[in-house]
């Protein structure tokens, strides 16, 4: 194995793991900020976003250099392509966390009301998806990634339920409209985070198996052996 190339792949992997850690932390903090109406956590998420953006650019630059200088093929090419796509998704996860805390900052200005939505439960499900999608990348295991894909329907249903219940609440009690709208947007942001984790899981499957499973496509070129040797 070419030493310099392997070092580049290792570096790319390490930076993506750092990026994943920051995105996961941002989502967890944003959810906790919602639950506790905690402005300090909101500010922590806002401050963390710039760090995520910096690493996003670093990862893209490194991937670009490896593609240009090392001409990777097969599993290495799939790995680098997957990393660049996961990188974008993690950056968008960070953006969704920012969107959530912006809603929280609006909500804490308003009177606290009871709403017919279980955001903490939805947040727990989404956090688990973020964690598992990153685990599937760390382990290079397509089965873990597959499990993430299967969790997406659960979160979609939660979002649909939240929509129905919150619209109903707004109709019945217009005084809670602004709080309900904030909660509705938070539910939507969480559902978007879940969508990004499914993208990450699909990219892991592409890397490990060489199979494109996006949009329920059946893979044209499934690899018959498990791959990753990237440490």
């Amino acid at each position: 194995m070419r030493t310099r190339f392997q070092q580049g792949l290792d570096e790319l992997r390490a930076r993506l793991l750092r990026m994943g850690g920051l995105a996961e932390q941002a989502v967890d903090r944003a959810c906790q900020a919602y639950i506790d109406r905690d402005l300090a956590r909101c500010h922590a998420v806002l401050e963390g976003e710039s760090q995520i953006n910096v690493i996003e650019r670093e990862i893209d630059e490194l991937a670009f250099d490896l593609l240009a200088l090392q001409q990777p093929i097969a599993v290495d090419l799939r790995f680098i392509l997957a990393v660049t796509k996961i990188n974008s998704d993690l950056e968008r996860v960070g953006d969704q966390a920012v969107n959530i805390v912006e809603r929280v900052m609006d909500m804490v200005e308003l009177p606290k009301v009871e709403l017919p939505v279980d955001i903490p439960r939805m947040a727990a499900a989404v956090s688990a998806m973020v964690r598992r999608s990153l685990e599937s990348f760390i382990e290079g295991k397509a089965e873990l990634a597959q499990a993430v894909l299967e969790m997406d329907n659960v979160v979609d249903r939660m979002r649909d339920e939240a929509f129905i219940n919150l619209v109903k609440a707004m109709n019945e009690n217009p005084a809670v409209t602004r709080q309900a709208l904030d909660a509705l947007l938070v539910a939507r942001n969480l559902e978007r985070v879940a969508d990004h984790t499914t993208n990450i899981a699909e990219d892991v499957i592409f890397w490990v198996r060489g199979a494109d499973v996006r949009h329920n496509a059946s893979p044209e070129f499934p690899v018959t052996h498990e791959v990753p040797e990237v440490k």
Binding site: M1, A74, D76, L77, G210, F221, P222, V223, H225
Partner: protein, 252 residues
């Protein structure tokens, strides 16, 4: 037009040492097929079996079935007949140094007793055009020797020489390994154009070259054909771990 090459259970030996084991594959007509693998894996031996050059090595022998179109290479056909239908280009350009460019291209036909000078002129010009060399040498084709050309031009001259006898299959054994990137680019562009008329089998150590020029790729290891598939499949999602390890530089 090119014809397909069909190989079934081809085995080859150098003395007692077996170099190829039960190779079965097909090179499709009017397509380029690349053969890759580490040094000593048997890929050059394989192409040399296709036009019976392997047997020119003392103690070397081969058995199995090789069909070039309908012609059986190892059953009732002479080596000369085979080589008229299968041209070959080698790693190092090898023009006849004392001959002019013209005579280099015409050499094969003259050896076969071809004496129609008017027709010979046409064939030389057409062959040099097909080899993308005509425009560069047309004014000096009878004056300059083949050896006076640059390495890239010499290799294209050798391709023109191979094309002059109107083969159906062109074997290329690492044709660009001694060339700079510009000359390599010209040969690769040429391969792309030649596929319209000929079937091409190319041995290369350059993965990028295989992926650029060939529709099909075979990976050889220790005398065995480990994997044969569409080139995009081999270079994106190979089925065999050994192929993947080789093309990603993990061994070899």
């Amino acid at each position: 037009m090119g014809v397909g090459v069909k190989v079934e259970k081809l085995n080859a030996w150098y003395g007692k040492s077996q170099a190829l084991y039960d190779i079965t594959m097909q090179a499709q007509a009017n397509h380029a097929t690349a053969l890759i693998g580490p040094s000593g894996c048997g890929k050059s031996t394989f192409v040399r079996c296709l036009n019976r050059m392997h047997e020119t090595v003392p103690d070397a022998r081969a058995d199995g079935k090789v069909l070039v179109g309908d012609l059986s290479v190892y059953n009732g056909t002479t080596a000369v007949q085979i080589r008229r239908r299968i041209g070959m280009v080698f790693q190092k350009p090898n023009p006849f140094p004392t001959m002019s460019i013209y005579d280099n291209v015409a050499a094969g036909l003259k050896l076969n007793g071809f004496r129609d000078h008017h027709r010979l002129d046409e064939i030389v010009e057409r062959s040099l055009k097909h080899a993308a060399l005509w425009d560069e040498v047309k004014d000096t084709v009878r004056k300059k020797s083949g050896a006076s050309l640059s390495g890239g031009q010499q290799q294209r001259l050798c391709i023109a020489r191979a094309l002059a006898v109107e083969p159906e299959v062109l074997l290329m054994d690492e044709p660009c390994s001694a060339l700079d990137p510009i000359s390599t680019g010209k040969i690769e562009e040429l391969i792309f154009q030649l596929k319209e008329k000929y079937t091409i089998v190319i041995v290369t150590h350059n993965m990028q070259q295989a992926s650029r020029v060939a529709e099909f790729t075979g990976f050889f290891l220790l005398g065995r054909l480990i994997e044969f598939d569409k080139t995009e499949k081999i270079f994106t999602t190979p089925s065999d771990k050994r192929t993947e390890d080789y093309i990603t530089g993990r061994f070899g």
